[in-house]
Amino acid sequence: MSERTERSEGRERMPGRHSMSERADERDLAARVVELVRRTAGPGAEAEVVVTRSDLALTRFANSFIHQNVAETGTAVRLRLHVDGRTAAGGGNRVDADGLTALVERTRAAARLAPPDPAWPGLTAPTSTPTGSAVDEATAFASPDERAARVRAFVDAADGLEAAGYCRTLFLSGAFANSAGHSAVGRAAEAAMDGIARAGGADGVARHCADRLADLDGAALGAVAAAKARAAADPVELPPGHYEVVLEPAAVADLLQNLAWYGFNGKRHAERQSFAEPGTAQFDPAVTLVDDPLHASTLPFDLEGTPRRALTLVRAGTTGAVAHDRRSGAGAGTGSTGHGMAGGSTFGPIPSNLRLLPADAAPVATVDGPAGSVGAGVTGAVGDPDTAALVAGVRRGLLVSDFWYTRVLDPKQLVVTGLTRNGVWLVEDGVPVRAVRDFRFTESYPRALGPGRVLGLGRRPVRQPARSDGSWWEGPALRLSSWHFTGGASG
């Protein structure tokens, strides 16, 4: 999507943001910390350092006006140290000489008190790192006015409905260095917009994440959200039970996130807390899942300096891999897959850029006709031809826009409870016939995606910003044979 009306606006260069020529700041900082370790802890000490500078700006709106509008510049220095067979990590944002010295000293002190670490996997050896895609400077240096303009467009397109959401830009510049001589640098930029329109207690949502702010069309997103909201008005309550469903990309994103956190996490897999069984056909043949960080603008290395790359987790229904950092990868005998992350020792390595690959030749909806068309049935319920094509095949089921507050009841089977949000419609004979009140569900995600369960997959994936910063999930609409709704809005 493009924001045609806003391309000509001026952009303000924000102090604290760094061009290519300034990248040496992070590289130098990382190198200085490695050198400090060498001087104070001796040449036998193994150190790895990541320096990340970030500029995050987020313009938030509710009740159709901007009510929170923030920007922050941050620096994070992370040091992991392995000395005399013991390991510790420390971090901070003080980058003056005293601050860096204090970081090294307290991390050394922690390492001295840590227990022996016989499973220390060692440092990443010098290796080439992909450069990553070019950073869109217009996104990296976007002004508050540019974000506000997109909000203005969203609100105007909501056409009198209350609107709420945000427009966000993020710029990252990072460097890695370790005492084994490996170093890497990178930059990334991202823009996201997520908004709802509200009509008489019913909400409609539109959400998109891109490498370029120019690809976010506030007006288009606002129009979709408004149409959805109007279509969701006057819902009826249906009885709980098993329903065939078409999940829109926002709801699919929740599936991907939970599968990533609890299933394709190498530490959880080693602990036998994951459902994943590599080599086993655990999913429908239509399912191919790839963790693909380089599909979008990103820092091209992980916290351990391992180059990031695509990792196929499921190919045509068969589980193929789980994500590893250096420690879990050494334990599994596979090596790191580039998923070293903060807190990974405790929570495990988590793939956080998961793509459900779309169907190559899924049917495309027609513009006209009662079933399979965007305009069929409740006006606005189906927002795009991709979803319409899947809805067309449903004799009786539910079209679900979004999931909310999903929590895991049993990690081993990945049984999850949560609620629908931002629109549910009853589909009969391929046409959404009326809005439905929100449901609570309790469902095993891998079971719902199991062999024979996927009845259709869309062709147009939509990248969804994660509700927590720093990751994204991308998939097309998805038609499943059964979803277990365990309660209605009234209990």
Binding site: L58, T59, F61, A62, N63, S64, F65, I66, H67, Q68, N69, V70, A71, E72, T73, G74, A89, G90, G91, N93, R94, A110, L113, A114, P115, S143, P144, A148, A149, V151, R152, V155, R168, I196, D203, E271, R272, Q273, G343, S345, W404, Y405, V408, L409, D410, K412, Q413, T417, G418, D438, R440, T442, S444, R467, S468, D469, H484, T486, G487, G491
Partner: protein, 477 residues
């Protein structure tokens, strides 16, 4: 230094056109250690300092944060906050007022007998290593222990004359045992999953006596693998205090946040089923239900001297004898709602905008004991220690899972039950509460997420065991 930078930022925002500005300088040290199966798994230490300034230009807010405290950086941050506020006028809202608050010049510090950062790492490590080793010896497949420490100093200055510094020390910890069976896992924790926390010193962790509970939780986690499944249906439900604390957090605390009620969180955290027009008259729960908003409780995790816009800590009622009477508010949201006080605004660090957050939201003690509640129950289920939580965006429809359940028959606690869950609608559930214990504990929740960009809040929830009639239990896939 903190006051100087904050003052410079505020002045710069005013000079740039702001009609109100405030700034927070925060310095936070964080330490956590986790152990697994008798070994230290991770030791993390982090230190962060910076400044965040908030400016009000016309009816628009702007906020800018920087990790530097030099005069130049502070002034630049103030100017940028004003510029961002001016950009907000592109999509303007109604006029913004702030309810009055005395411009305090004050210092405040939380009580702390034993500085948690001063306790030797080796002692803290020995505690976790010992407890997790014991759990392994008693059958746990995964034995985990954790403590966390936050030591925060902050300096607050406003254009109205506030000048407040606070030093808040928080810590806590806990242990968990997981047993892995064929196709499922079972977990038991003490005193709750990821622990109990407060604005206090290491004495809190010492008093928990983690080692003394290690063998029990391990054995119970293994026992759960073969325990009968929690039955499905409607029954009387007795909740332990820790689970009731989360029930309060999710179905009362968030519901009474004024920003949610006003629609300011509609797109993300959600709204609230509560309607301001019924404040003072709406029946929230039974007459046993008395909920307070009280940031003055010594040692509770949501305690402070002043909130992050300079309002002093004051105890207020949220629900009195079952009737909804109060909200969590900030100075601007209170003005919109026609209320006369804020007092519940906090920021997760220097880089985040202050927003409405829970402080200590909890139940006043009831007249009973847990033993009396069990003795008075003919047929029901006792559940304790949260395992999963989910609630809708209006804070009405919830489903919680607990680590453990026990059958209650004819006034006695019976066999252990696995996979206990319960579900309901907030006000219906609270109106069914007919027995409440006096055995109150101020449970600490250090992981309350809200806001965009995301913020993690630390909240407290005084709670005691209670009984609820006719609750649906045993929901499963």
């Amino acid at each position: 230094m903190g006051f100087d930078a904050a003052t410079a930022a505020v002045q710069a925002a005013l000079d740039a056109g702001a009609r109100y500005a405030d700034a927070r300088v925060m310095h936070r040290r964080y330490e956590s250690m986790s152990a697994r199966n008798g070994d230290i798994e991770e030791l993390a230490q982090h230190e962060s300092i910076g400044l965040g300034v908030r400016a009000l230009v016309g009816s628009g807010w702007g906020f800018h944060a920087v990790p530097e405290l030099s005069d130049a950086a502070a002034r630049d941050a103030g100017r940028r906050a004003a510029a961002i506020a001016a950009a907000s006028a592109r999509v303007p809202g109604p006029p913004v007022d702030l309810v009055p608050v005395e411009a305090a010049v004050a210092s405040w510090a939380s009580e702390c007998a034993v500085d948690p950062l001063g306790v030797p790492l080796s002692d803290k490590g020995d505690l976790l290593v010992g407890a997790t080793a014991t759990m392994r010896e008693h059958g746990a497949d995964l034995a985990e222990g954790l403590y966390q420490i936050w030591d925060t100093t902050k300096w607050f200055v406003s254009s109205e004359g506030h000048r407040i510094d606070q030093h808040i020390r928080e810590c806590g910890g806990g242990i968990s045992a997981t047993s892995i069976g064929d196709g499922e896992t079972q977990r038991r924790s003490y005193p709750s999953y990821r622990g109990q926390y407060g604005t206090t010193g290491w004495e809190l962790v010492t008093a928990l006596d983690l080692a003394a509970h290690a063998a029990r939780v391990a054995e119970e986690s293994r026992e759960l693998l073969t325990a009968p499944e929690c039955p499905s249906g409607e029954t009387d439900l007795i909740l332990g205090g820790e689970q009731l604390a989360l029930q309060i957090h999710e179905s009362v605390g968030h519901a009474i946040e004024l920003d949610r009620i006003l629609g300011w969180e509609a797109a993300f955290a959600g709204t609230s089923w509560l309607d301001l027009a019924r404040l003072g008259s709406l029946r929230y729960g039974s007459e046993l239900m008395n909920v307070t908003i009280d940031p003055t409780i010594p040692g509770a995790l949501g305690s402070f001297g002043f909130d992050d816009e300079g309002s002093p800590a004051v105890r207020r009622d949220a629900v009195r004898e079952g009737r909804w009477v109060g909200v969590l508010a900030g100075r601007d949201s209170a003005a919109v709602a026609g209320l006369d006080h804020g007092g519940s605004v906090r920021a997760d660090g220097w880089a985040r905008l202050p927003m409405v957050r829970m402080t200590n939201v909890g139940l006043e003690p009831g007249p009973h004991t847990l033993d009396e509640i069990i003795a008075a129950t003919d047929d029901g289920v006792l559940m304790d220690i949260n395992r999963s939580w989910s609630i809708d965006d209006k804070r009405l429809n919830f489903q919680f899972g607990c680590e453990v359940g026990w059958e209650v028959r004819k006034g006695r606690r019976g066999r252990m039950l696995r996979n206990p869950t319960y579900t309901g609608i907030g006000p219906v559930f609270w109106r069914s509460m007919d027995m409440l214990s006096s055995e109150t504990v101020a449970w600490g929740t250090p992981n309350c997420g809200k806001g965009q960009p995301g913020q993690i809040g630390h909240t407290g929830h005084p709670a005691a065991p209670a009984r609820f009639r006719g609750v649906r239990v045993g929901v499963r896939a």
